[in-house]
């Protein structure tokens, strides 16, 4: 079959009864015997009906459609079907649009025809459009509420976290304040003790003869003591010469775990504390850590003694080392 026999215009004229009899008869036969032609004829007929329904026909063609094509009850049924079908197709498209399938543009463009043929159906479709828009609005509102809820929850969590951090910081500061207060108390006590010592030394100085005073001032015995080793049998010895007034002891420490220390001079024979220092700060030079303490030389007699070092931390204290030494004269 030649395509020339069924171009759109020829088919349209055939359907509208406008072809000469001989040509119409040829197409009659093709309509029954040629599958391809029969298919093309159906499509052309659908297009013609749709064009009429969409007010796209005009002039002679429109006249022929009304006078010839619509003369048949069967064909009028086809037109009614097309009208209903186009309305239904628009409704389907509107539902798909509400479902955000991206067919909005096509539906909007088809609405021109829709308004022309669907006066009766208008309220029904308006209702459906309204429902679709309402559903869309609900979805948007719901999404916003969910989003806002999540945002508020996040903000609450952040505020809660900040509150916890601040509470921990407050506790730390409170502890530091208490420690500071305790240190202040110790410092005040230490200051009082130093003042008492100064006062006592002042009294002694007044009672001591001038010659003796000058000789004491000029004689200091230094004593360096290493950390006592376990099992060590050798005890350090110092010689106190007559006229020695002070013993300057340097005690080497294994570690400086404490911020302050005290040193006491013990007489092991009677387990008697002969002298006690105030709060001492350790000295660190490279890897060497030590404490410096000085006491009167006349406290010592030729025998064994013990210097005991106590670490002080907060309100507690602990003996961290005993330094034995022997005095000879």
């Amino acid at each position: 079959m030649s395509k020339e026999t069924h171009n759109d215009q020829t088919l349209q004229r055939y359907l509208l009864g406008a072809l000469p009899d001989s040509e119409a008869e040829r197409l009659d036969e093709l309509g029954l015997t040629d599958d391809e032609f029969a298919e093309a004829l159906r499509i052309a007929e659908s297009d013609l009906i749709d064009a009429y329904v969409q007010n796209e026909l005009s002039g002679t063609v429109l006249d022929q459609f009304k006078t010839y094509y619509l003369a048949s009850p069967l064909r009028r049924e086809k037109v009614k079907f097309a009208q209903a079908f186009q309305v239904f197709a628009l409704k389907e498209a509107s539902v798909q649009t509400a479902g955000l399938t991206g067919k909005t543009a096509r539906v909007r463009k088809g609405a021109g025809w829709f308004s022309a043929v669907s006066d009766f159906f208008a309220p029904r479709l308006a209702l459906q459009w309204g429902a679709a828009l309402a559903a869309l609005a609900l979805v948007i509102a719901g999404s916003w509420l969910v989003f806002d809820n999540v945002r508020l929850r996040q903000e609450m969590s952040q505020v809660q976290a900040r509150r916890e951090v601040l509470a921990r910081r407050e506790l730390e500061l409170q502890k530091q304040l208490e420690t500071q207060r305790a240190n202040n108390t110790q410092t005040e006590q230490e200051l009082a003790r130093v003042r008492q010592e100064q006062e006592r030394l002042g009294q002694e100085l007044k009672q001591t003869p001038a010659g003796a005073k000058s000789s004491r001032e000029g004689s200091i015995v230094s004593l360096i003591l290493a950390p006592p080793l376990r099992g060590a049998s050798q005890v350090p010895t110092i010689s106190i010469k007559p006229g020695s007034s002070q013993v300057a002891a340097q005690l080497q420490l294994e570690a400086t775990d404490y911020s302050a220390y005290r040193v006491a001079l013990i007489d092991p024979a009677g387990n008697q504390t002969l002298w006690r220092s105030g709060s001492l700060k350790p000295t660190v030079k490279g890897e060497r850590k030590s404490l410096a303490a000085s006491f009167r030389a006349d406290l010592l007699k030729p025998r064994h003694y013990l210097l005991t070092v106590t670490g002080i931390s907060g309100g507690t204290s602990e003996i961290v080392g005993n330094y034995p030494f022997r005095v000879v004269k």
Binding site: E29, G31, T33, R42, S46, R76, E77, G112
Partner: protein, 206 residues
């Protein structure tokens, strides 16, 4: 065709279509395609459209009359080899149509045709029975619901829009489906035919 005409132009009023004759007719029209009656239904539909385009009053009856005569010939002859089934049907249909015309000229069918024609010339827009439209739309919804999802979307999108927009829509749809525009037209037309038949049956039930 003259040989044929002597055998098929005169209807035998005492002959009725039997089950066996119908089966033979269906098998003959099928030509071994295994369409299970599809070819018979297709031919009947084409015949109805043929008589309708000729503005015959009752195209369905004339289509059935045509097929009855072909079945009778098959019964009588056992086989028809002179023409293809489709062409033979056309030849018989043409005789049936001419008989109808002669009868109309004699006045048997004339009054009916005139009545029908005058009805056809009445403004179509006047026929706006809201109840009928509502019923039609309900039937359409029901029939659309019976379609497969792909067919439903195809037919819906195929008929949306006007002029250039419609063409663009169809081009896009064809591209999505991976078929040519022509194949899409055929597919849409078949879906539409099926839908139209379903709606007609639904509307007839009331």
């Amino acid at each position: 065709m003259s040989e044929l005409s002597a055998k098929v132009t005169e209807p035998k009023k005492d002959w009725t279509l039997t089950q066996r004759a119908l089966r033979r007719l269906i098998g003959w029209l099928d030509e071994g395609a295994g369409s299970e009656g599809g070819k018979y239904l297709e031919m009947r539909q084409r015949l109805v459209a043929y008589f309708d385009r000729k503005n015959c009053a009752m195209p369905d009856e004339l289509a059935d009359e045509t097929l009855n005569r072909v079945a009778r010939r098959l019964e009588e002859e056992g086989v028809i080899e002179s023409e293809t089934p489709a062409r033979y049907c056309y030849i018989v249909a043409r005789f049936v149509f001419m008989e109808h015309l002669r009868a109309a000229q004699k006045g048997n069918a004339l009054r009916e045709d005139l009545r029908r024609e005058s009805h056809g010339l009445a403004p179509f827009e006047a026929d706006d029975d809201k109840e009928a439209k509502e019923r039609l739309l309900n039937c359409l919804e029901r029939c659309m619901g019976k379609l497969e999802m792909l067919n439903r979307e195809t037919i819906t999108r195929y008929y949306i829009g006007k002029e250039r927009v419609k063409i663009e829509n169809r081009r896009a749809l064809a591209a999505e489906l991976g078929i040519t525009m022509n194949a899409l037209s055929i597919r849409a037309c078949r879906i539409r035919d099926k839908l139209e038949q379903c709606v007609r049956q639904c509307a007839d039930k009331g």
